[in-house]
Symmetry: C2
Subunit: 522 residues, 2 copies
C-alpha cells in the first residue's frame, strides 16, 4: 500500500471530451450547410454567367468541410471516447454511444481514402459529368465509355480502401444505405420482380385502361403555384422553416435546422408535373423538418439513409397523392383554382387518371409500377460492373437486351438507354437500389399505418394529415440515423422488411383501375 | 576578388511572390463572396425561423475570411514585395505597385487592431443593433444611450489603433472614403450648404410647387416588376450577370465577378418606390458590373469608395431617372404597362411630379434636395461625438436643435429624430458623409458628361444609354480602387472636386419646377 501527499491527477474528463466532439461535428455541419446553400442557389437563383465562380466557391467550402471532417484532434477525441465505451463500459447513454461510433466510423471511412484517390475521383466525376452531358446530347456512347471505365476502376478502388472487409459493391452501397448488403437487396428484388412483371403485363392487356386526358389540359402557372403551396402547407410542410422555388431538376435541400428548401418545375399543360413534384419533395422536406433540430449535424438529427428518405417522398407522392381520400379533400380547392378545366371532374375520375401504367424508355418519366423495373435493371448492371462480371464495353448491349426483356421495347439510341441517367457519370454507383428500397419501405409503412390508424382515409378526406405525419415523426423521423434503415423500418412497422406490401399495394390500386383483380392471378 | 565554383543562389523570385500574393487575395475574395451571398439570402430568401442558424453560418465564414485576410505568410510576402518596390525600384507596373501597397495597408490596418478590440466591437455592434431596434420601436433614447456611449468609445479606440497618425474621425472616414479628410469634407459641406438652404427656402415659398398625385395612383405589382426590369435592362444592367429580388431594405450585393444582385421593395400606390429603388440599386450594380472581372478580389477590380459607389447610384436615380429625356423615352412603355393611370400623362407632367421638395423628419424618405441637409447634420454630430466635443447624453437635444434650425420642424419623438438610422448602432461612424460626397461627385460627373457628350439628351430620348455608361466605365469603373476617390473624380471630370455642380444641378432642375430661376438669387 502506498500513500502520497501529491494530489491524484484526475482522469481525462470524458464527458467534456464528448461535448467537444459533438461541438466539432456541429461546426462541421455549419460549413456543410453553407455548401448546401451554394448548391441550392446554383440551381435556383444563380445568374447564367455565374457558374464558373460558383464552382470556385463550392470547391473552397467543400475543402474546408473535408478538412474539418478529418481533423486529427477530432479523430483522437473520438477514439478515446470509443475506447472508454468498449464492451458497454462507462456512464454513457445509448445515443451517446451510437453517436460516437457513427462519427468515428464516418471519419475512419474518410481517412482510409488516400488524398490522391479522393482528388482523382473528384476530377473523374467532374470530367465524367461534362462528358456525359455531351455524350447524351449526341447519343455518343463511345465519348462516354472511357470516362465510365475510369470511374468504375476508381470506385472499385475506393470501395476496397474504404471498407476492406466488404464486397466492393456492398462498400459503395453502404455509403447510401448503411448496413444494407447487396445479396439481401438482390434477393428482395428477385421476390419483388414477378409481382410487378405480372401487374405490368396485366395492365398492358387491359381492355379499359385509365386515361389521363383530364390532367392534360391548361393549368395556369400562377394558379398551380397557389395550389401546390396550399397542398404542401396542409400536409404539414412548415413554411416558417422552408420554401418552394423553381428548378429544372427538382430536389429538396437543407441549409440549416430550420431551413428546408423544396424545388419543382412547372408544366402548364400537365398538372402532375408540379403537383407530384412538390408532393415528392415535400415528403423529403417533412422528413428533414421532422429530424431533431437540437441534434442538427449529429447522427441523432440526420436522415437514416437514402432509402428511408425516398420512402418518405414516395409515401406522400404515391400512397397519399394518388389516393381517393386525398382527391376528395383537395378537389374542391382544385376546382376553385382551375375552374376552366376541372369544374366537372370527380375525385374518382382524377384518381383513376393518376394510375396510368405505360412502359417507357426513360426512368424519370416512368409510372409508379414500371419504375421499379428501371431500378432493378440498373442495380444488376452496376453491381456486375463493380464486380468485374461485366465490361464497360459490353454495357450498352447488356442494357438494351435486358430492357427489351423487361419492357418489351428496345431503346433506339444510347441517349434513350444507357446514357439517360447522370448518376454513374457523377460517381454515384450503389445509389440506384435505394429508390426501390424506398418504395418497399413506404408500402410497408403505409400498411402498418392503416392498421394503426383505421380512420386515416376519413381524416385525409377531411384534410387532416396530422395523424399520419405524427406516426412518421415518432416511428421514423425522430430516430435520425441512430438506427440502421432495416431495423428502423422493422421497428416502425413491427415486421421484417419485405417486398410483400409493395406488391399488394400496387395490385390493390392499379388492378381495379385496369379492370383487374386486386392481386396477381395465382 | 573571389570566385566560387558553387552556383549562386538566385534571389527570391519576386514575380512569383506577387502571383502568390494575388492568388491569396483572390482566395480570400472567394470566401468573402460566400459571406456576401449568405447576407443576400438572409434578406431575400431565408425562411423566418432560419435566422439564428444563419448567424452561425455567417460568423463561421466571417472568421475564415478574417483568418485569410490576416494570414502571416501573406503579410511577409507583401512586406517583401513592398520593400522591393521602394523608391520606384524594380520591374513593376503601376498597377502591381498600387496593388501591393493597398493590400499591405489593408492588412496592416487589420493587424493593428488587437483581437480583444475586434471581438468587443463585434459584440457591441450586435448588442447595439438589437437595442436600437427596441429603442426605436418604443422611442426610448435612454435604452439606447449606453450602447452608443460604448460604441463611440470603442470606435475611438479603433481609430487610434488603426491609424495612429490620423485624427480619430478621419481614421474612421478613411475606411469608407480612402484619402478623404474631414476638414476638407467639412469645408466642402460649408460651401454646399447655403445654396441648398436657399433652394429649400425658395421651393417652400413657391406659389406653384409641383405635386405628385400622378404617381400616387394604383400601379399593379406585376406590371411594376416588368417595367422596372425593362428599365434596368435598358440602362445596361446585364441580367446574365445579375438579378432583381425583393427586400424590405433595398440593397445591391455582389456574390462573384458575374453575380450582382439588386433588391427593391414595392408600393402599389406609389410608383417611385420600386422604380427609383431599382434605378438607385442598378446604379450600384452597373458600377459592380463595370469593375474588371479579371481583377475580382484585387484593388484593380474593387470599388473606389462608398462615395464613388453612391455617385453611381445617385447619377442614375436622380440625374437620369428624374430627367425629361428619360421620361420621353420610357413613358410610352409605362403607358402600355399602366394604361389605367398613365394614359393621359405627358413626359413633362411626370418629370415635374418627380421634383417635389418637402422637408421631412426621416432621411430615407427625403427628397433629393433636403437629403443633403440630413447628411450634414449627422456628419457634424458624429464628428463631434468621436472628437469628444459632444457627449452622448447631449446628443438628442443637439439633434433636435440643429434639425429645427435646418428644416424648420422639430422631431416630436426620438424615433423620428436621433434614433431613426441604424448606422451608429452598427458601428458605422464616418459613413454618413459618403452619401453627400456621392451626390457631389455625381453632379460633377454629369456636368462633364454633358460637355463630352452633347447629344446625350437626344440619345436618352431614343433609349440609348450606352454612351453614358461607356463614359462611366472608362472614366470611373475600370480604375477600380487603384486611384483614391478625390483624384479619380478629378481625373474623370478634368476639374478639382467641387460642390458647385451639385448646387447648379439642383437649382437648374428644381428652380423652374417651382416657378423660380435656375440659380440662387444673388
Amino acid at each position: 500500500m502506498t500513500t502520497s501527499a501529491e494530489p491524484r491527477r484526475s482522469p481525462p474528463d470524458l464527458h467534456s471530451e464528448y461535448a467537444a466532439a459533438a461541438a466539432h461535428a456541429r461546426r462541421t455541419a455549419v460549413l456543410a450547410s453553407v455548401e448546401s446553400l451554394l448548391g441550392w442557389d446554383e440551381q435556383t437563383m444563380l445568374p447564367p454567367a455565374g457558374g464558373a465562380y460558383r464552382a470556385d466557391q463550392a470547391a473552397a467550402v467543400a475543402s474546408l468541410v473535408h478538412a474539418s471532417r478529418t481533423e486529427p484532434e477530432q479523430r483522437d477525441r473520438l477514439e478515446r471516447l470509443a475506447a472508454s465505451m468498449e464492451g458497454g463500459k462507462g456512464d454513457w447513454s445509448d445515443e451517446e454511444r451510437v453517436t460516437v461510433l457513427r462519427l468515428l466510423s464516418d471519419l475512419h471511412k474518410q481517412l482510409r481514402l488516400p488524398a490522391r484517390l479522393v482528388e482523382e475521383i473528384a476530377r473523374a466525376c467532374i470530367d465524367g459529368q461534362q462528358a456525359w452531358v455531351e455524350a447524351r446530347r449526341h447519343s455518343d456512347w463511345k465519348g462516354f465509355a472511357p470516362h465510365l471505365d475510369r470511374l468504375v476502376r476508381l470506385k472499385r478502388e475506393q470501395a476496397t480502401c474504404q471498407s476492406p472487409d466488404l464486397d466492393p459493391y456492398d462498400a459503395l452501397l453502404d455509403d447510401y444505405e448503411p448496413g444494407a448488403r447487396s445479396s439481401d437487396v438482390s434477393a428482395l428484388f428477385d421476390r419483388l420482380r414477378p409481382g410487378i412483371v405480372a401487374l405490368v403485363r396485366a395492365c398492358r392487356g387491359s381492355s379499359c385502361p385509365p386515361r389521363d386526358d383530364l390532367l392534360r389540359q391548361h393549368f395556369p402557372r400562377a394558379a398551380q403555384e397557389s395550389f401546390v403551396r396550399m397542398v404542401a402547407e396542409n400536409i404539414g410542410f412548415d413554411f416558417a422553416r422552408g420554401r418552394i422555388d423553381t428548378a429544372e431538376h427538382p430536389f429538396c435541400s437543407t441549409a440549416g435546422p430550420h431551413d428546408c428548401r423544396l424545388t419543382t418545375r412547372w408544366d402548364e399543360s400537365y398538372l402532375p408535373t408540379a403537383l407530384f413534384g412538390v408532393l415528392h419533395e415535400a415528403g423529403h422536406g417533412l422528413y428533414e423538418q421532422g429530424l431533431r433540430s437540437d441534434a442538427f449535424g449529429l447522427p441523432g438529427g440526420e436522415a437514416a439513409s437514402l432509402g428511408v428518405h425516398e420512402s418518405q417522398s414516395r409515401l406522400w407522392e404515391n400512397l397519399v397523392g394518388r389516393s381517393l381520400p386525398f382527391w376528395e379533400w383537395c378537389l374542391p380547392e382544385a376546382r376553385r383554382m382551375f375552374p376552366a378545366v376541372l369544374s366537372d371532374a370527380s375525385p374518382e375520375a382524377i384518381q383513376r387518371s393518376l394510375l396510368v401504367v405505360r412502359p417507357s424508355l426513360i426512368r424519370v418519366e416512368a409510372d409508379e409500377v414500371t419504375y421499379n423495373l428501371h431500378i432493378m435493371l440498373r442495380f444488376d448492371l452496376e453491381r456486375a460492373l463493380i464486380r468485374g462480371e461485366l465490361a464497360v464495353a459490353d454495357l450498352p448491349a447488356a442494357w438494351d437486351d435486358r430492357f427489351e426483356q423487361d419492357f418489351g421495347i428496345r431503346p433506339a439510341t444510347a441517349a434513350e438507354g444507357v446514357l439517360q441517367d447522370i448518376h454513374w457519370s457523377a460517381g454515384l454507383i450503389g445509389y440506384f437500389p435505394t429508390y426501390t428500397l424506398g418504395n418497399v419501405y413506404s408500402a410497408q409503412m403505409m400498411a402498418a399505418v392503416e392498421t394503426d390508424l383505421p380512420d386515416l382515409p376519413a381524416e385525409i378526406t377531411a384534410g387532416r394529415f396530422g395523424p399520419l405525419l405524427d406516426w412518421l415523426r415518432v416511428r421514423v423521423h425522430e430516430h435520425g440515423r441512430l438506427i440502421d434503415p432495416g431495423p428502423l423500418v422493422s421497428g416502425a412497422t413491427g415486421r421484417p422488411v419485405s417486398e410483400r406490401w409493395l406488391v399488394e399495394s400496387l395490385w390493390a390500386r392499379y388492378g381495379p383501375a385496369h379492370g383487374l383483380g386486386t392481386s396477381p392471378p395465382s
